[in-house]
């Protein structure tokens, strides 16, 4: 292993986020109160905590779907350089998304008139794969996630929630980015499909992808996480190995 592995792929420092709701009397809502966090390559860092603790907000601030109010979000690029996602220009941020930084939510943003194979392959093309490679990789991913081949060219809008979620995961993990943000990516899956999805995610970390994930169940965290960060009220309240943190959590996360 090279020294590159020990340098974090993500360094979050003093990250704060508040919202001003101009439509509700200018009310201020503080969501993150200063987050410090590192993710190493090949590390699976699970965010735990009750709902409203700020887990999804943190992911969105890193992906810049929310604009950080304060603090730094350093991403180490493939080139070895670090960039601060909090201050990167919009155009540069758009360029970082994709090959460097990926985000998979629990919802597939339904694209009209497109089938699963097409959706996943296009995600690969968007990350720089050529079309035939992307189609091959997409077929492998869909097979792995138990998407019936008969559905590959059916418009995704008619798929079930679980099927959509798996298509979404396949699209988000084809030609994987250096850092992958996961927001409840298997919430709608039945046990056997969930198993396949978790297996896929475990594979990514073993290949050096840094993962920062929110799962709603402890079992997934236990299975995948190399480290767990516990959040409460927009702050990190504890972090450590899964066995240590999760044992304190029974009944909290669910």
């Amino acid at each position: 292993m090279t020294t590159d592995l020990v340098l974090p792929v993500l360094r979050v420092r003093g990250l704060r986020k508040h919202f001003i709701l101009h439509n509700v009397d200018g009310r201020r809502v503080d969501a993150l109160h200063g987050i410090d966090l590192d993710v190493l390559p090949g590390e699976h860092l699970a965010l735990a905590g009750s709902s409203g603790a700020g887990k999804s907000t943190l992911l969105r601030c890193i992906y810049r779907t929310y604009l950080p109010s304060e603090g730094e979000v350093h991403l180490r690029l493939t080139t070895g350089h670090e960039v601060d996602l909090a201050t990167l220009s919009d155009a540069e941020m758009a360029g970082v998304r994709g090959s460097e930084l990926g985000y998979v939510s629990q919802f597939l943003r339904a694209e009209p008139r497109r089938g699963p194979l097409d959706i996943v392959a296009r995600a690969g093309v968007a990350r720089g794969m050529d079309l035939s490679d992307a189609r091959d990789a997409a077929a492998i991913a869909l097979k792995r996630l138990n998407i019936d081949e008969a559905l590959w060219d059916v418009y995704a809008t008619v798929l079930s929630g679980g099927e959509k979620q798996r298509v979404n995961l396949a699209a988000g993990t084809i030609s994987p980015p250096r850092l992958l943000l996961l927001d409840e990516p298997v919430s709608a899956l039945d046990p056997s499909n969930r198993e396949a999805a978790l297996d896929l995610i475990a594979d990514l970390t073993s290949h050096g992808v840094g993962v920062l994930a929110v799962f709603h169940d402890l079992e997934a965290m236990e299975r995948l996480a190399t480290r767990v960060v516990l959040m409460a009220d927009g702050l990190i309240s504890a972090q450590g190995p899964p066995t240590q943190i999760l044992s304190t959590l029974t009944g909290v996360s669910r």
């Binding site: 001003i20 101009h22 779907t65 080139t79 155009a91 360029g95 009209p112 008139r113 093309v125």
Partner: protein
């Protein structure tokens, strides 16, 4: 460490710089008397209308930038100033041509501007009658751009027109039909084929699906998005409709009373709008 971006960024092909369009007498106070804070783009003292002011953005090849706002916000003014349909009164619209020249669209003669419209910059209008000759066949409309660019071989013109119409999903058996007989959605597809005729590096979309039935609009949007990703063109999409902006663009600016009130990544503007007006606009779109 992050002051110099280590990322390779494609150079801009379209750069709008301090663009302004003012109707009426201009003095130093007019700007303070207009804008989002005042709630109007018209000075009550002089009657001057500041249709657009201090608009800045860059678009690179393969990028799509959205301009969103209500009617009267100045978004169409910006579009028409870039297209050269109207002259800007302030600022510059820089275009990097395929030959690598940089020209200010706002400062060249009309004839030079029209020449740019042949193969450097195309516009897809809301009203197909603006972009098409309705009395001419679908193929003839494409031929118009090709012959303007110097195509003189009939078979080649026909072949290229058929290819483009096929690409924009116009049934080939309708290639020789007069466009006036076409439905709204089909006219937009012909407009797209015509706009793409000479592979322009820049395409402007002015409310490309407004007025179409929802299902037809969805199909046209889908086609536009495909073309944008496939052809690597620099696009500016002007719309009042967030769903259009969301589907086609990665970045956008929000205009209100002639000024840019916010700019950002499109998903950020939708999920975390900062300006009061953006929040109102998003709230309205989400209900």
């Amino acid at each position: 460490m992050t002051s110099h971006s280590p990322m390779e960024r494609a150079p801009w092909v379209l750069k709008v710089e301090n663009l302004g369009k003012v109707f009426g007498p201009m003095d130093s106070d007019v700007l303070a008397e207009t804008g989002p804070e005042i709630g109007t783009s018209k000075s009550s003292r002089t009657g001057t209308v500041v249709a657009a002011w201090d608009v800045n953005f860059e678009v690179a090849a393969g990028e799509a930038l959205g301009v969103i706002g209500e009617s009267g916000s100045g978004k169409s003014t910006v579009m028409r100033a870039i297209a050269g349909d109207h002259e800007a009164s302030h600022g510059a619209v820089w275009l990097r041509t395929r030959k690598g020249d940089v020209v200010n669209v706002a400062a060249i003669p009309d004839s030079a501007r029209r020449a740019l419209r042949v193969d450097e910059l195309a516009v897809v209008y809301q009203d197909a009658a603006e972009g098409l000759d309705l009395g001419v066949t679908a193929g003839g409309n494409v031929a118009d751009r090709l012959t303007a660019a110097g195509w003189r071989n009939f078979a080649e013109i026909r072949h290229r027109a058929a290819h483009l119409l096929g690409r924009t999903e116009v049934p080939l058996e309708r290639m020789d039909d007069i466009v006036r007989q076409f439905s709204g959605g089909m006219r937009q597809r012909v407009q797209l084929a015509k706009a793409l005729a000479n592979n322009p590096p820049i395409v402007l979309f002015d409310e490309p699906t407004t007025g179409l039935d929802a299902s037809v609009a969805a199909g046209v949007l889908d086609l536009i998005r495909d073309l944008l990703t496939e052809l690597g063109i620099a696009a500016v999409v002007v719309s009042h409709d967030f769903s259009v902006i969301e589907m086609l663009t990665t970045r956008c600016i929000v205009m209100h009373h002639g000024r840019v009130v916010e700019e950002g990544l499109t998903d950020q503007l939708l999920e975390d709008p900062l300006h009061p007006y953006s929040q109102r606009l998003v709230a309205a779109a989400r209900t």
